[in-house]
C-alpha cells in the first residue's frame, strides 16, 4: 500500500509533465553521484581506530588523523594539562546563557550584566594566569577555542560601543552625528582582513616605542571595533522601529537623555533586533577563522600545520571536512535558534 502511495505521489509531484520529469531525473542523478560515495568515504570505508598513518589501510577517510591531532585542533598549543581551564570557562558561559531562559525577565538583566562585565574577567584570569597556576602566554592560545574566544569577546566588547554609535548616529548634535556616521561607514566599507593586517603590522607602530601589546589582544580589539559598526547598524534599525510615542512618554515623565535610553528605548529596541544581533554573531563566527591569515594558530591554521607534517601528508580532506562539520553544526544550530527566538518574540508582542 505504501509503495502504491509513493508511486502516485511521485507521479503527481515529480513526473507530472516532461519538464518536471527532466528536472526530477536530474536531481536524482545529482543525489546518486554525491551522497552515497560521500557516506561510503566518510563512514563505511573509513578508519576510526589506530594511532599511526599506517593504520589507515582502507580507501575511506582516515579519521585517525583527526583523532591524533584532535587536541591540537581544538586548543592549539595550549599546554595539555591546563585544558580544563578553557573547558571550565566555556562551561560557565553555556550555563549562564542557558540560565537566562529559565529565569524571570527581571533577573535577565543581572545575567546580562554578569556576561558583559564579570565573565570576561573570570575567563581571562582562567586562561592567562591565576592563583599560582601556570601562566599561559596569549601566544599559545590556539585551535577552535581561540576562534570561539575571539568571536565571543568580539561580540561582548563590540556591544557597548555599538550602542553608543547607534545612539550617536541618531543624535541631533552635528559633530557627534557625523563622527558616528563616518566611523560606522568606514568600518563597514573595509574588509576584515585589512583590519587584521592593520592590527598585526601597523598597530605596533602607533604605540610608544617601549611598550608591546601582544598580537592576540590587538586582534581582539580590532575585531571588536570592526563588529561594533555592524552592531550599531542593527541596533539603529531597532531604534528606528520604536514608535515615537515611547520617546514622548519618557520625556513627559521627566526622564533625561540617558535615563530614557537606558530604561525605555534600548531594552525594547534590542529585543526587537535580537535576530539581527544573532545573525551578526554568526557572521562573526564565520569570519573569525580569517585570523589564520595573520599567523594565528586557530583551527584552520592547525589543520594546515598538521597536513604539512611529513608524517601525515595528504590528509587535507579529512581535516577540512572535520572543520566544516564543526562550523556547519555550530552555524546551523545558532541560526535556527535565532529563528525560533524571532518567532517567540514576535508572538510575545501580540
Amino acid at each position: 500500500m505504501k509503495i502504491k502511495n509513493l508511486i502516485i505521489w511521485s507521479r503527481t509531484n515529480l513526473f507530472s509533465n516532461w519538464y518536471n520529469s527532466l528536472i526530477s531525473l536530474f536531481c536524482i542523478y545529482l543525489i546518486i553521484i554525491t551522497i552515497p560515495p560521500f557516506i561510503d568515504w566518510a563512514f563505511v570505508s573509513a578508519t576510526f581506530e589506530g594511532k599511526l598513518k599506517t593504520d589507515c589501510k582502507t580507501s575511506g577517510a582516515c579519521w585517525v588523523f583527526v583523532k591524533v591531532w584532535f587536541e591540537k585542533f581544538m586548543y592549539g598549543f595550549y599546554p595539555v594539562e591546563n585544558i580544563w581551564r578553557i573547558n571550565l570557562s566555556f562551561l560557565i558561559l553555556i550555563i549562564s546563557i542557558s540560565l537566562s531562559f529559565f529565569v524571570k525577565d527581571k533577573f535577565k538583566i543581572y545575567i546580562l550584566f554578569f556576561l558583559i562585565f564579570v565573565f570576561p574577567i573570570i575567563a581571562f584570569v582562567l586562561f592567562h594566569e591565576s592563583f599560582g597556576m601556570q601562566i599561559v602566554e596569549r601566544r599559545e592560545w590556539g585551535g577552535l577555542a581561540l576562534t570561539f574566544i575571539l568571536a565571543i569577546f568580539g561580540i561582548i566588547f563590540s556591544f557597548p560601543l555599538g550602542v553608543l554609535l547607534a545612539l550617536g548616529r541618531r543624535s541631533e548634535l552635528p559633530i557627534i552625528k557625523y563622527f558616528s556616521i563616518c566611523f560606522i561607514e568606514f568600518w563597514r566599507g573595509i574588509p576584515l582582513i585589512t583590519v587584521l593586517f592593520a592590527a598585526a603590522v601597523m598597530f605596533p607602530l602607533l604605540l610608544p616605542a617601549d611598550s608591546y601589546v601582544d598580537k592576540t589582544l590587538r586582534i581582539a580589539v580590532g575585531i571588536a571595533i570592526f563588529e561594533s559598526a555592524y552592531i550599531a547598524e542593527v541596533i539603529r534599525g531597532g531604534l528606528q522601529s520604536l514608535p515615537k510615542g515611547q520617546y514622548d512618554a519618557a520625556r513627559s515623565l521627566g526622564m533625561g537623555y540617558w535615563k530614557m535610553n537606558f530604561f525605555i528605548v534600548l531594552p525594547q529596541a534590542i529585543k526587537t533586533v535580537i535576530p539581527g544581533i544573532a545573525n551578526t554573531f554568526i557572521a562573526l563566527l564565520k569570519d573569525t577563522p580569517l585570523i589564520v591569515l595573520v599567523g594565528m594558530a586557530e583551527i584552520l591554521g592547525m589543520i594546515n600545520l598538521a597536513k604539512a607534517n611529513p608524517y601525515w601528508l595528504g590528509m587535507a580532506v579529512e581535516g577540512y571536512v572535520f572543520a566544516a562539520a564543526i562550523f556547519w553544526v555550530a552555524s546551523y544550530f545558532l541560526s535556527s535558534y535565532s529563528q525560533r527566538l524571532e518567532k517567540k518574540y514576535s508572538t510575545e508582542k501580540k
Binding site: I175, I190, T194, F197, A198, L205, A209, V292, F327, Y332
Partner: protein, 393 residues
C-alpha cells in the same frame, strides 16, 4: 539679580549641554591622533623606515603569479598596486556574474513545485551558507584543484578546455578588424532605444504591445554579426600547445586561469549565490498572491504577468540586499591572501608591506581603495532606489 541674569543668559546662549560633549569628542579624537602620530614617528625612525609615498616609484623586486598587465620584479610598487587592484576587480566582476546567475536559479528552484528540486536547493543553500568562506576557499584550492592531473596527463574537454594542476586553459580569441563588432553593438543599442521609443508611442496610441525584450535580444545578436561579415572580421583561436623541454611539459599560449583565481572564483560565487538565492526567494514570496491572481483575472498570460507584475515588484525587494551582497563579495575577495592569489590585499598589504615596512601608508591606501569601491556601489544603489521610488509614487 544682575549676576544670575547674566549667568542664565550665558547658559542659554551657549547651550553648554550641547556644546561640551561635541567639544570633548573632538578634543579626545585629536589627542588620540596626536598620540599615534608621535609614536609612529619615533618608531619609524628607530627602524630606519622613511615615511612618504615615494616608495611607489621604486622597484618592487617580487613577481606575481597572475597579472592582467605586464609585470615583474623590475616594475614599481605603484604598478604592483595596479596589478593587485585589477586582479581584485577581475575576480569580483566574474564572481558577481556567476553568483547572480546561480543565485537566481537556486532562488527560483527553491520555490518550485517539484519537491526534489526545492529540497535539493534548500540543502545547497544551507550547506554553503553556513560554512566559513575561507574554509570553502581552502577546500577548493587544496583538495579539488591541487589533485588535478599533472600537465602531461591533462583532462581535455571537447577540444576546448584543458584542465590540469597548473590551471585551466582556454583558447585565446584573436580578432582582426574587431572595431566592426563594436560598431555593430553601438548600432544595435541605438536601434533598441528607437524601438523602445516607438513601442511606447504605439502602446499609448493603440494599446498594442511590441515584444521589445525579444526584439532587443535579436538586434544585439544580429547586428554585430552582420557588421562582422560586412567588415571582414576574422577570428582565429589560439589554443594552448603542449611543449616538451627534455622531460618537462608545459602548455604555452592561450588563456590560462591559475588555480588561485579559480578557487577564489568558485568559492566566492557559491557562497554569495546562497545569499542572493535567499533574497530572490524573499522577493518573489513578498509579492502577495493577490497580485498574481489579479493579473490572471485581467487576462495576462503567465509570462506577461511575470514580466510586468511580479518581477518589477520583486526586484524592488531583491535588489537592495543583493547589492549589499555584491559589496560583500568585493570585500571577501580580499581572502585571496590565504591562497596566494595576487589581489590588492595580498600584493599590496601583504608582500609590498613586508618588503618596504611602510605599514601606515600602505594600509591607508588599501583601506581607501576598498572604501571607494564600497562608496561607488552604494551610490549606484541609492540611484536605483531613487529611480524606483519615483516610479512607485
Amino acid at each position: 539679580m544682575q549676576k544670575s541674569n547674566f549667568k542664565n543668559l550665558l547658559i542659554k546662549n551657549f547651550q553648554w549641554q550641547n556644546f561640551l560633549p561635541q567639544f570633548l569628542l573632538l578634543f579626545f579624537f585629536f589627542l588620540l591622533i596626536f598620540y599615534f602620530t608621535t609614536n609612529a614617528q619615533v618608531n619609524l625612525q628607530a627602524r630606519n623606515i622613511t615615511s612618504g609615498f615615494d616608495f611607489l616609484g621604486t622597484n618592487s623586486g617580487f613577481d606575481v603569479q597572475f597579472s592582467l598587465i605586464p609585470y615583474d620584479g623590475s616594475y614599481s610598487f605603484g604598478r604592483a598596486y595596479l596589478v593587485g587592484l585589477l586582479n581584485t576587480l577581475l575576480v569580483s566582476f566574474f564572481g558577481i556574474i556567476f553568483a547572480s546567475i546561480l543565485g537566481f536559479i537556486i532562488g527560483i528552484s527553491r520555490l518550485s513545485e517539484n519537491l526534489l528540486l526545492s529540497k535539493l536547493s534548500h540543502f545547497y543553500v544551507e550547506l554553503f551558507r553556513n560554512l566559513p568562506l575561507i574554509l570553502q576557499i581552502f577546500f577548493w584550492y587544496f583538495v579539488v584543484l591541487r589533485n588535478l592531473p599533472t600537465t602531461e596527463k591533462s583532462l581535455i574537454l571537447l577540444d576546448f578546455l584543458i584542465i590540469n594542476v597548473q590551471g585551466f586553459y582556454f583558447p585565446k580569441f584573436i580578432f582582426t578588424n574587431f572595431q566592426f563588432i563594436i560598431y555593430g553593438i553601438i548600432f544595435a543599442i541605438l536601434t533598441i532605444f528607437l524601438l523602445k521609443y516607438y513601442s511606447n508611442k504605439m502602446f499609448y496610441n493603440s494599446g498594442k504591445y511590441l515584444p521589445v525584450f525579444k526584439l532587443s535580444l535579436i538586434f544585439l545578436i544580429l547586428f554585430p554579426l552582420v557588421f562582422s561579415v560586412l567588415g571582414n572580421v576574422g577570428l582565429t583561436f589560439e589554443q594552448a600547445k603542449l611543449i616538451q623541454n627534455f622531460g618537462i611539459f608545459n602548455y604555452v599560449g592561450g588563456v590560462k586561469l591559475v588555480p588561485e583565481f579559480l578557487a577564489l572564483l568558485f568559492a566566492l560565487s557559491l557562497y554569495t549565490s546562497t545569499f542572493i538565492a535567499e533574497n530572490v526567494r524573499a522577493g518573489i514570496l513578498s509579492i502577495s498572491k493577490g497580485q498574481k491572481e489579479a493579473a490572471k483575472s485581467l487576462g495576462f498570460n503567465n509570462s506577461l504577468s511575470l514580466k510586468l507584475i511580479v518581477i518589477p515588484q520583486a526586484l524592488r525587494v531583491i535588489i537592495p540586499p543583493t547589492t549589499n551582497q555584491y559589496l560583500n563579495l568585493v570585500k571577501n575577495s580580499s581572502l585571496a591572501a590565504g591562497i596566494g592569489y595576487p589581489d590588492l590585499t595580498s600584493v599590496f598589504a601583504g608582500t609590498s608591506l613586508s618588503q618596504t615596512g611602510k605599514a601606515i601608508e600602505i594600509i591607508f591606501i588599501v583601506m581607501m581603495t576598498y572604501l571607494s569601491i564600497s562608496l561607488f556601489i552604494s551610490l549606484i544603489l541609492n540611484w536605483y532606489n531613487k529611480k524606483i521610488a519615483f516610479i512607485s509614487k
